[in-house]
């Protein structure tokens, strides 16, 4: 199993204001907007580590705690192994515009999103 943390999610009520904080105050650079987390649009912001991005989401009424987003090269395989190990998944792996993802919980209710990004072009 090869899982690495790739995205650090940040939820905000005002995306523009939050973006301004990241770019004007912290001097970070916007990488691009993609759809992740099952359809909820987010903006990626570059960090010093080229393999790690901040993922900025609009706070929704039903948003719970921010998930930790883990990158995998084979979502179905990891889903299967983790299920066998007794990990509690919200749902079966689902297709998103950037790849295949599945969400699970730890015993204390913290959320994790396992995502296999796929290059469709």
């Amino acid at each position: 199993m090869d899982m690495t943390i790739k995205y650090i999610p940040v939820f905000t009520e005002d995306v523009e204001k939050q973006l301004g904080f990241f770019t004007d105050k912290l001097g970070l650079e916007v990488s691009g907007t993609k759809s992740v987390l099952f359809g909820q649009e987010c903006t990626f912001i570059k960090t010093d580590n080229p393999d790690v991005f901040i993922a900025l989401f609009k706070q929704q009424n039903n948003t719970k705690s921010a998930p930790i987003i883990i990158s995998t090269d084979d979502c179905l395989n990891d889903y299967h192994s983790l299920k066998l190990a007794g990990v509690n998944f919200y749902n079966e792996p689902q297709y998103t515009p950037i790849g295949l993802g599945a969400e699970f919980l730890d015993p204390f209710g913290n959320r994790y999103l396992l995502i296999e990004e796929r290059s469709y072009c």
């Binding site: 179905l76 395989n77 469709y120």
Partner: protein, 287 residues
Amino acid sequence: MEYLKILKNNNVIYSGTRQHKFTQQSTADFSIRFVFSGNENYSIGRRNLSIYPDSFLILNKGTSFSSAVDCAQPVQSFSISFDEKFMDEFRNCRMMKDSKLLKSALGNKQEMEFSETIYPFTGDIFFNIRHLKNHLDSGVQDEALINQYLNHCLISYFKIYNEEICQKAERLNFLNRSTKIEILRRLNLAKEYLYTNYNRSISLDELADYSCLSVNHLLRTFKQAFRLTPHQFLVQLRLQRAQVLLRNTDYPVNEVVNLIGFECPSSFIRLFREHFQTTPLKYRQSA
């Protein structure tokens, strides 16, 4: 490496590398057929078609066919036959979870019968099959995991079926749904003719003849369904296959030009640059 894996639920997976092979058979179950290198030729009734690594073929239960491999380079074939019960369970389960996708693909049909034609091997089915093959090649025996991949192969096939058949039929300017389906069936004959004979000169007359349409009818409806003329479709296919040759072989560009059916290297280079914003040589160096 060659293996034939029969799972406990009677799903069957074959993988093998051959230079020469001829088989004649009927499909016991719905099956999906791929090649990972070279090409495999199929005859279904009077139709002859070839699959390459950028495409796959589906065969319905009971279809009689012959397949042949006759290639200078080894051809890696990979096929999956889905047991009828597995298909039924998939259908019942998915009808509840993703009713829109399945209902548009199947309508009210009781039998799972699909258009037996060539489909593009891209998107999620490409990733799912590649993962599955890697696991099987490395000796994975866990049938629950293998069936998980098979289940997702069907999910991703339905997505492609929806895009390639349902959505393209909807684009045709006919009122009657059965007319749309019949015209698309003929257009798919034209499409598979292009996929199979891409490396030689094809006239519009022979393409229209093969697809049982008049030239005018073919031109008009092909553009409606595929949003490209047959000529544009052929050029795109040739360029796509040129990419594969540039990536995987050392053939000089002039030879690649001949192999994909272009007559003039300079027009090939110009079109390649227009489509991919790079030259063939730069593409090869970066691949």
